[in-house]
Structure formats: C-alpha cells, structure tokens
Symmetry: C3
Subunit: 273 residues, 3 copies
C-alpha cells in the first residue's frame, strides 16, 4: 500500500501569484499530498529576517515534513539550489543563501546536497528567475514521495547564516530588531532570559536616540495604554510593545535597528513578578 506523501510546507516572499504556481506544481506531482502555505509574505529579499521566521513557523510542524522556503534575490545565479536532511527526518529545500540555515541548525543537519537539475527534471529548460517553481518544487515533491536527499544531488556543506548576536553590557544588553510583527511589536535578538528577574527601572535607546523608559509586563493587558513596554515574546525573545498599537510606528523603527536596553537593579527585596 502506498504511504501518503509527507506534508510539504511553503514559505516565500513572492506574494500569492508566484506562490500559487509552486502550489500547482506540488499538487500536480503529489495528487494525494498535503501542501500547507505558511506564508507568501515574508519580507521581500530579506534573507536574515526570513530565515528567522521560517525557523519559527516550520518548527511547529510534524517531524518528517518537507519544508520549502524561498527568499532568493540571487535566483538563477551563484548561490546553489540545495536540499538538507535533518535529524528528525525533515527535509529542507531552497537556495543556499542562509534562508534554511537557522531551521536546519535547530533540527540538526544530517546531510546537504546541491540539487542536480539534470537528475531532477532531465533536459527540460527552466526559468532563470523562478527556481521555486521549476526546481525547488519538483525537488520537494520527490522528497515528499520518499526520495532521499542523496538521490537529488551531490554532497555539499550548508552555508551558514550569521544572525547578529546580542552583547551583554554592564547593567544592560545591546541588540537589534530582528523582526517587526503583524501588530508592530519589535522582536529583538535578545533572549528574554538575559534580563534580570527583577528590573524595576528599564530604559531603551533606539539607534542614537535618547533613552525612553519601558514598563515591564507579562501580558499586553498589563501595559499602561500609550506607554512602551517590554515583554517576553512567544519567540522567547525580548519584545517591545505598545498596547493595541504599533511600537514600530511610535518609535519609527524597522528591522535591523540597534537597541540598547539598560536597567538599574534594586536590592533584591521583592519577588519577581
């Protein structure tokens, strides 16, 4: 009895029209397959932010899934088309420009190959501007049907992506904005656990601007309306939020901007909230 193909997820920055073409190829090659579009709205051409988001979305899916992710400003050029097998039997497909790296690292890299166009689709010609449809989708479909990544190309080393690391400072930490979420909350690269447990007086400087005070809260509802606050985001990173409003707009801040967080620790007299 034929097993059902593995679930395939799709994450792109290319909007609905190009993404729908990829879905078409996947459904054509996987008549009984399950294809789940995670998003076609990754920030255009932004590999680092996209890579962070792909990891956060895809990690929720079942082990053994096939994850196709395409943010690919260098499409058709020098970056290699690749597939990665991970420890949980998940397979990743996309360009070797870093978009897959954080997810691969999280799931555990077992083997990486450079996709061999000839083996995948024979002598058919492909668009130099749409590898997602013409190369990555056929590769993902083959993996969903049970092919091994080794069947699709020759071994290669996955190129790393350097996500900026936060820096610990005396009474503080320097980081940056990794992502602005759908509500305008700033998701930083600072692990929430780096914060002291009791930090009554927090302040934030954005770029070279003057520090502003920050409330600290466990949930949005605790933030005084109109005040900037700091929470632990669901990504377990420091998040800067404005209750039912956009912190990004209020601060005029986008992805990549430097954040300096400072605190004054009290003598430990009250328990942490």
């Amino acid at each position: 009895v034929a097993r059902r193909p593995r679930l395939v997820t799709l994450s792109t920055d290319m909007g609905p029209v190009y993404s729908a073409q990829i879905k078409g190829v996947l459904h054509r090659l996987l008549p009984d397959g399950m294809v789940v579009e995670l998003t076609h709205e990754l920030p255009r051409h932004q590999v680092t932010e996209g890579a962070f988001l792909v990891r956060q979305m895809a990690r929720q899916f079942p082990p053994g899934s096939v994850h196709l992710a395409v943010v690919d400003p260098g499409v058709g050029g020098r970056r290699a088309p690749i597939a990665v097998r991970c420890k949980d039997e998940s397979c990743l497909v996309g360009p070797d420009n870093g978009i897959l790296y954080p997810l691969a690292e999280l799931l555990g890299i077992v083997r990486t190959v450079r996709l061999d166009q000839q083996r995948l689709i024979g002598k058919r010609s492909i668009s130099a501007t749409f590898a997602g449809r013409d190369l990555f989708a056929p590769a993902a479909a083959r993996l969903a049907l049970g092919a091994l990544v080794e069947d699709l190309g020759d071994p290669r080393t996955l190129s790393p992506l350097r996500i900026p690391e936060p820096q610990r400072r005396s009474q503080g930490v320097d980081g940056m904005v990794l992502h602005v979420d759908h509500f305008g909350n700033l998701i930083s690269n600072i692990p929430a656990e780096w914060l002291p447990r009791d930090a009554p007086a927090l302040s934030l400087s954005v770029g070279s601007r003057r520090p502003v005070p920050l409330s600290r809260a466990r949930m949005y509802e605790q933030l005084p309306r109109g005040d900037l606050g700091l929470l632990t985001s669901s990504f377990e990173l420091v998040e800067i939020a404005l209750r039912e409003d956009s912190a990004a707009k209020r601060l005029g801040v986008g992805v990549g901007e430097a954040l300096k967080l400072r605190w004054r620790t009290r003598v430990k007299s009250t328990p942490a909230r």
Copy 2:
C-alpha cells in the same frame, strides 16, 4: 477504523507568521486532519467586527466543524480561554471576549467550558502572549479527534457580546458601520428587510455630516458610476457602495461610524424593483 478528524477552521487577526505556527501545531496533532485558514487578516484587536466576520465565514462550513478564532487583545489575562459545543455538533475555541459569541448564538449554545490548561497540556509552560498556539490549538485538535468539550474544562457561561442594534425612526433608521469590506463597501448593522419596498428618495448622513442622496440597486452594475448606492449585501444587511470604487474612501468613513438612513415613501403606485 479511525474516523478522519473533524475539519478545523482558523480565523485570526495576527497575520501569516503567527497563524502559521498555529497551523503547525494543528497539523502535528492531526496528521490526517483538514485545517482551513479562513483568514489571518481580521482587523487587529477589533473584537466586535471580528466576531461578526467569524460568524459569517464559519457558518458556511459543515456542521460538526471545529472553529478556532482568535482576536485576543487580553491574551494571557483575565478573559477565560473557552470551548463551546453547539447544537449542530460544531465546537468553537478561543478567548471568552465575545469573538465567538455571535457564531455560538447562531449555531445554538449547548455547553461552554473554561479550558483547563493542566488537562490540556499538563505541566508544560506556555507563552503568556500566544494562547492561540499553546492552548487553543491543542484544544481544537483534541475536539477534532472526538473529545467532548466537557473533557477540556469546567462549565462556565459564555460572555455575551453586545453588537449595537439599529433603531427605527420615522421615515428612516439609525445604524452604524459594522464592517468595511475588501472593496470599500460599507456593511451596516441594518437588516435589509427594514427598508420599505419602494423608496425612491433615499438619503444617508454619516456622523454629523449633511445628508447625501443614495441610488438604490439590486446589483452594482445598476449604480450610476460615481454615485453612492444602497444594496442588499450578501450578509442580508444594508450596504453602501460606489460602483467599482470605495465608498469608505469617498465618505471618509470607517467601522463604528453612525449612519442615518432616511426615505420619503411615495404613494404606492409603482411595483417595487
């Protein structure tokens, strides 16, 4: 033989990235399940408009479906996480802030419970800012697999949502804008059947502005280009439209704005259109 899980729908205001994480959890817990994202673009934090839209979308789905809906500005706070069983065996999951109320009322409320985190996911910790992923998705999956809402928590009364009611006036009706649709049409809270069958001279005042005349039509094509018109929306409510253009932009109007509709009835000499 295991039955296929019930279909699960998902409606949120949280954009693709957070919604995709919920889809991941659902697919992980429901390997053969059908998960249909209705939208991740409900208006941010707008419970009343969202509740109206959730009812309109979800009511089209088969009886017995599981509907997960999250517009949840108070996430992690005082509002209870709940599940509702309805007369048609549909189950609803989300926060008890009104987002589920109109749909529950339409389908017929049989039982409401407060979700018990311990029973659902044991001692695992959850994010204080993302109940959709960490609590509601596991609850929806359990219901899709056949659990009863009674298995997920203790009984509770569903909190009502007060959607503003229109008021009949002499030769008219006062209402408000419940929703601005994708085309910029204004969907009011006024039942279309409240209009007189023949009403040749209609006028509309928005907020405190001067009345403007309205054409009346059965379909957009009948509206003179550039004139505001009144139709029966597919929600069976009064709709204000501008042919192939945005009435909301023309009038500078958004959700919540007051609408005063007035008419002069003629002596009944012509049949209704």
Copy 3:
C-alpha cells in the same frame, strides 16, 4: 468505491472574508475534497489582468482540476454565469466576462454552458451580489463530484477576451504593462522571443516619457544596482526590473501603461549572453 473529488482551485479579487465563505460552501459540499485557494488578492475588478494571472496560476495544476475564478464587477447582471469543459478534462467555473477565457483557450475549449440556477440549487434564493458563494461554488462542487458541464446548463459560446497585442516596429516593439508583480517588476505583453538575441543597446519609453537605457540580464543578480534592466520573466514575457527594488515605483507606472522598447542591433560578432 467512491473516488475522491477532483481538486478545486479558487482565485478571486474579493479578499479573505468573502473567499472564506466560498471555501466553506465547497468544503460543505465536498467533505473529502481538496480546495486550494490560489489567491484572494487579484486586482479588484480588473478582468484582463486577472484573466492573465488565473491562466498562469491554474495551468500548473493537474489536468482534470476544477478552477473557480471570480473577478466579477457585473455580478448579478447581464454577464452569464458559466462552466467550461476543457480538453484535459479540467472544468472552469465563473462569470462569462473574460476572466476564464485565456485559461480556457490554453487548455482547449470543449463545451461551454450557461449555469442554470434552478438545476443547481433549485428554488433557493441567492444573493444578487455574491454569485461566487451562492452559484459558482455549488457548480464547482458538482463538477468536482463528477457531474458533466452539460448537466449544469444549456450550451453557449464562451465570450472572448481581447488582451492587447504587442506590435513589431522597426528596431523595436510597442507593448503594454500587463501586470505589476509582487516585487514591482513590470510584466509586459511582449513575448521574450521577439527580442533580438544580441541587443547591446536597449531603451524603454513609458507612456510619452523620454527613453531610458536598459541593461539586459538573464538573472536579477546580473543587474547593476539602481539600473533598470530587462529580463525574460517566468511567464516568458519581457520583464522590466530593478534589482531588489520596485521598477513600477521608480518609473511611476501601473498596469495598462504603454511601453516602447527600442534596440540597436550590432553586427553579429559576439555570441548572445
């Protein structure tokens, strides 16, 4: 043994809320069906651009699929509701305003019928503003379950859609912008194969503006940053692009704008790139 229903695709210009209602009807009528939303973001009311996009998306799907496409400014009016059977056994459903024509022509028209409301849904009344939900979805579901288009109405001829044709000029071609893609690239109606193989000096005039020089490239990565370039789009049409930026914004150009492309051919001494 019951066969699984055919896959149904859905393409609309109506945003998520109306599209979700169509999905609900489809899932209600096709409990085991596969419904794939290609997009709910076709440009509002733009039949020509929508028809081009529907063809490009739907053509990737398996033969025998049912394609439901709705861009329907004349909903409820004189345009007929139709279904088309194609040579590859695909079926198309939507309004007879041209939205289905390019796809039907590509797949090969076998038979067209005018949908008969009575035969489809009996005496139930339908919304005059939402045929997608009340008429087209039930028709698509019937076809997915194996009905013949002939079962759904009486024969009719499909109305053609005239997509503007490009014109060959001495040392050039005149065309127009058919679509602005998600990245701001201009997709023209000019077949890429109309270009000379070696054309070192290309220029482009938009509307009545002065010509600007164009680089030519096979992939985006080859374009000098900040310079407009010409590529072969994945639609196999001439595409005007700005590397990791929006050509549409740079040129202030939208769909329908006239494009004049000119070249000076060199003596053939270098091979085409």
